[in-house]
C-alpha cells in the first residue's frame, strides 16, 4: 500500500480481551466501522488543510470558521440542522438502493419533482383542514418520487439498464420538466422575476418543531433514518434485500423476488428523496421554484457513502456536512475564498473515504480472532464489510 493511501491506525476504541471472543469480535467490528471512517474523514480534512496552505490560506482559520458558521451558536446550529434535514432524506435515496447493489445518483430529480408535486396539489387541497391537507401533499410528493426512482429500479431489474446512468439522466429530465412546469402551466402569474408556482399558503405551511426552532423535516428525517435502519437490519424484508445485494444468483436460487425487491427499495428511496423536496416547499420556501435544485441530491450521495450506506450513520454525517455547507458563506466572506471551496473539501472527503474501503479487515487490532492466533491458522473468515 502506498503511503498517501493510509489513514492508518488511530483512535480505535479499545476492545476488552477479557470478554468472550464473540463479544470481542462484535466490539471490534463496531470499533472498526467507526474508527476507519473517522480516520478517513480526519485525513480528508488534513489534505484539505494542506491544499489551503498551498493556496496561502490558514487551515486553522478554516476550522474556526466552520465551527462558528456551522456549530458555534444557536443560530449557526439552526442553520446547520435546516440544511441537514434534506440531506437525511437525500442520503436515504442512495443508501437503500445501495444495499441492493444499485448506485443511484439521481436523487436530485426526485427532490425537485417531489417539491413540485407538493406545491401543485396545494391549491385544490386548500379547502381541507391543514392536518389532512399536509399529509396528502406529502403523499403526493412521495408518490411522484417513488415512481421516478422506482422506474430506475424497474429499468435495472427488468430491462438491464444501469441504474447509475439512468437515474442521472432521469434527474436531468426531472429538472427540465420541473422548469417547464414552473415557467409554464404551473406558474404563478404574479411571480415576475423568479418564476414560482402558486404559494401553498400560510395555512398549509409547517411551523418549526417545538423547542429547537428547526422545521419538522429534521425530525421526520431522523425518524426515516431510524425506520430505514430497522427495515434493513431487523426485518426479513431487509434481510432479503441485503442477500439480493450481496449475491443475486444466491437470492434467485433461494426464490427471493429480486426484481420486486429492487423496485420496492428504489421506490422507497425515491419517496424519501421526494419528501426532502416536500419539506423544502412546505417548511422553507412556501412555493416550488428553481431553488429546489440546490444540490441536496448530490451532497446526499456523499453523505450516504460517508455513512457507508448505514441509515443510522447518515444522521451524524448529514449533521456534519450540513454544518460545512452552512459555513460556506462565512468561508467565502472571511477568507476571500471562492464558493467552490466547500465542493473541493467534499470531493476530497469522498475520495479519501472511498480509498479507506480498502482498509477494512486489514488491521489485526480489529480482528480479535487473530490476536492470539498463530500465523498459519490466520485464515481471516470475516472481512466485516456490510453488503
Amino acid at each position: 500500500m502506498r503511503a498517501d493511501a493510509a489513514p492508518t491506525e488511530m483512535s480505535a476504541a479499545p476492545a476488552r480481551p477479557s470478554a468472550g471472543l464473540q463479544a470481542r469480535a462484535w466490539l471490534a467490528r463496531r470499533a472498526e466501522a467507526v474508527a476507519i471512517p473517522v480516520a478517513a474523514a480526519v485525513t480528508g480534512f488534513a489534505l484539505f488543510g494542506i491544499f489551503l496552505g498551498l493556496m496561502g490560506k490558514s487551515p486553522v482559520q478554516l476550522v474556526e470558521i466552520v465551527w462558528r458558521g456551522g456549530f458555534g451558536s444557536a443560530f449557526a446550529l439552526g442553520n446547520t440542522l435546516q440544511r441537514a434535514a434534506p440531506l437525511l432524506f437525500a442520503a436515504l435515496c442512495v443508501a437503500l438502493p445501495a444495499r441492493l447493489g444499485l448506485v443511484v445518483i439521481g436523487g436530485e430529480g426526485a427532490i425537485v419533482l417531489g417539491g413540485l408535486a407538493a406545491a401543485a396539489v396545494a391549491p385544490p387541497l386548500a379547502a381541507l383542514p391543514a392536518p389532512l391537507a399536509i399529509p396528502l401533499m406529502a403523499c403526493a410528493a412521495a408518490l411522484v418520487g417513488a415512481v421516478w426512482i422506482g422506474a430506475v429500479g424497474w429499468l435495472q431489474a427488468y430491462r438491464g439498464v444501469n441504474a447509475t446512468i439512468s437515474s442521472l439522466l432521469l434527474s436531468y429530465i426531472a429538472i427540465a420538466l420541473a422548469n417547464h412546469l414552473i415557467e409554464g402551466p404551473l406558474r404563478d402569474p404574479t411571480s415576475l422575476n423568479k418564476p414560482s408556482t402558486l404559494p401553498v399558503g400560510e395555512a398549509l405551511m409547517l411551523g418549526p418543531m417545538p423547542g429547537i426552532g428547526v422545521h419538522w423535516g429534521l425530525g421526520c428525517g431522523v425518524i426515516a433514518c431510524l425506520a430505514a435502519y430497522l427495515l434493513m437490519d431487523r426485518t426479513t424484508l431487509g434481510f432479503a434485500a441485503r442477500i439480493a445485494g450481496g449475491n443475486v444468483r444466491a437470492a434467485q436460487i433461494q426464490g427471493l423476488p429480486v426484481g420486486r425487491l429492487i423496485v420496492g427499495f428504489t421506490a422507497l428511496g425515491g419517496a424519501f428523496a421526494a419528501l426532502a423536496g416536500f419539506f423544502e416547499v412546505v417548511a422553507v420556501q412556501g412555493t416550488a421554484n428553481g431553488t429546489l435544485a440546490a444540490g441536496y441530491g448530490y451532497t446526499g450521495i456523499l453523505v450516504a457513502f460517508l455513512a457507508r450506506q448505514n441509515p443510522i450513520a447518515i444522521v451524524p454525517v448529514a449533521f456534519l456536512l450540513g454544518g460545512i455547507e452552512a459555513s460556506g458563506g462565512l468561508i467565502q466572506r472571511r477568507m476571500q475564498l471562492p464558493d467552490a471551496t466547500v465542493l473541493v473539501l467534499e470531493g476530497l472527503l469522498f475520495l479519501v473515504v472511498l480509498m479507506s474501503e480498502t482498509l477494512y479487515g486489514r488491521f489485526k487490532l480489529f480482528s480479535p480472532h487473530l490476536w492470539a492466533a498463530k500465523r498459519e491458522t490466520a485464515q481471516v473468515p470475516a472481512t466485516s464489510v456490510p453488503a
Binding site: 448506485v103 439522466l169 417547464h180 470531493g347
Partner: protein, 307 residues
C-alpha cells in the same frame, strides 16, 4: 418563401449544431471507450471535462496560445485519470463510486482555481470555413468547422483501427475482456488500466478545452451541462466502437442544438423540454438496446457496468 427559409434554417442550425456541439461528446466518449475497453468505468470524466475547460482557458489567457491550453487540459485530464486509476487499483474500491467522487472533486477544483479566469477573454481555437462557397450566412455559420472536430473524427478512425490491428489495442481488449487471461499472458492488468484511464482522462481534458476555447467559448461554472456523463451513456449506445462513437456524438450534438434552433425561429414553447431532448434520447436508446438476460453486445467482459 420566408416560411421555407425558416424551416431550412432550423435544419441548418441542427447540422451546424451537431458539428459544433458534438466535439466534447466525441472526445469524452473516445476517452471513455479506451477506459472501458480496459475493463474499468470512469464516471469522473464530467469533472475532468470541467477541469480541462478551466485549465485550457486559464492557460490560454496567460500564454495567449489556445494550443498551449489544449496541451495543459490534456495533461491535467491525464492526471485525473491517473488518480482514478491509482485509487481503483486498491482492493475493494468501487470504480463507479470513485468516479462520482472525482466528478465532485474535479469540478470543485476547477471552480475554485478558475475564479480569476471568469472575466478575461482567451484567444479561441481556429476554425476552418468550409462554407466559403455559399453566400448564405446560415450555411457559412453551420459549416464553420473547428480543427478539434476534425482531429476527433480522425482519432475515432485511428482508434477503431488500432483496437483491431495494433498490439496495444489488443492488450487493452484482452485486459478488458478477461483479466485472468491477461495475467496468464504476463500483462500487468492494473497498469494497463491505469494507462487506459489516464489516456481517457487526457482526451476528456481536450474535450473540455474545446468547450471553453471554442464553443460556447468562455469559462464559467455552467460551461458543461453534463456532457461528460452523457458521453458515458453514449459509449454504451455506441457499443464501445470508436467509429460508432463519432456517429453517436453527432446525433447527440444535433439533439442538443434542436432547442436553441427552434427558439431562433420563434418556437419558444417548451424550451426546457427541448433542452431535455438529449437526455431523453440517451435514456430511450439505453432502454431499447439493453437486455436483462445477456450482457450488452460488444461489452468488455470485465466491465462492472455490464456484469
Amino acid at each position: 418563401m420566408n416560411e421555407d427559409l425558416g424551416l431550412w434554417s432550423v435544419l441548418l442550425a441542427v447540422i451546424g449544431g451537431a458539428i459544433r456541439v458534438s466535439t466534447p461528446f466525441l472526445f469524452v466518449s473516445l476517452g471513455e471507450t479506451i477506459t472501458e475497453r480496459s475493463g474499468r468505468i470512469n464516471l469522473g470524466l464530467e469533472g475532468t471535462l470541467v477541469f480541462g475547460a478551466m485549465s485550457a482557458y486559464g492557460t490560454a489567457v496567460l500564454t495567449n496560445s489556445p494550443w498551449a491550453g489544449v496541451a495543459v487540459a490534456a495533461l491535467s485530464g491525464a492526471a485525473f485519470g491517473l488518480l482514478h486509476g491509482f485509487v481503483c487499483r486498491l482492493p475493494r474500491v468501487n470504480d463507479v463510486a470513485v468516479g462520482i467522487a472525482l466528478m465532485l472533486f474535479g469540478s470543485g477544483l476547477a471552480f475554485f482555481l478558475g475564479k480569476p479566469f471568469i472575466q478575461p477573454s482567451a484567444p479561441p481555437l481556429p476554425a476552418i470555413p468550409f462554407g466559403f462557397w455559399s453566400s448564405l450566412p446560415q450555411v457559412r455559420a453551420a459549416l464553420q468547422v473547428n480543427v478539434l472536430f476534425l482531429a476527433g473524427a480522425a482519432l475515432s478512425l485511428v482508434l477503431w483501427w488500432a483496437f483491431r490491428n495494433t498490439k496495444a489495442g489488443l492488450i487493452v481488449r484482452v485486459v478488458g475482456d478477461s483479466a485472468d487471461a491477461a495475467r496468464a499472458m504476463g500483462y500487468d492488468v492494473d497498469r494497463v488500466r491505469l494507462y487506459a484511464t489516464a489516456t481517457g482522462g487526457a482526451l476528456a481534458g481536450i474535450g473540455g478545452a474545446y468547450l471553453s476555447l471554442y464553443y460556447p467559448g468562455s469559462w464559467n461554472e455552467g460551461v458543461s451541462s453534463g456532457q461528460g456523463l452523457m458521453a458515458v451513456a453514449l459509449v454504451i449506445f455506441a457499443r464501445w466502437n470508436p467509429l460508432a462513437c463519432f456517429g453517436a456524438a453527432l446525433l447527440f450534438g444535433g439533439a442538443g442544438a434542436l432547442g436553441p434552433a427552434l427558439q431562433s425561429v420563434g418556437v419558444s414553447q417548451g424550451y426546457y423540454l427541448f433542452y431535455a431532448a438529449p437526455y431523453v434520447l440517451t435514456l430511450a436508446l439505453l432502454i431499447a438496446t439493453s437486455s436483462p438476460d445477456r450482457a450488452l453486445a460488444g461489452a468488455p467482459g470485465e466491465l462492472s457496468l455490464s456484469k
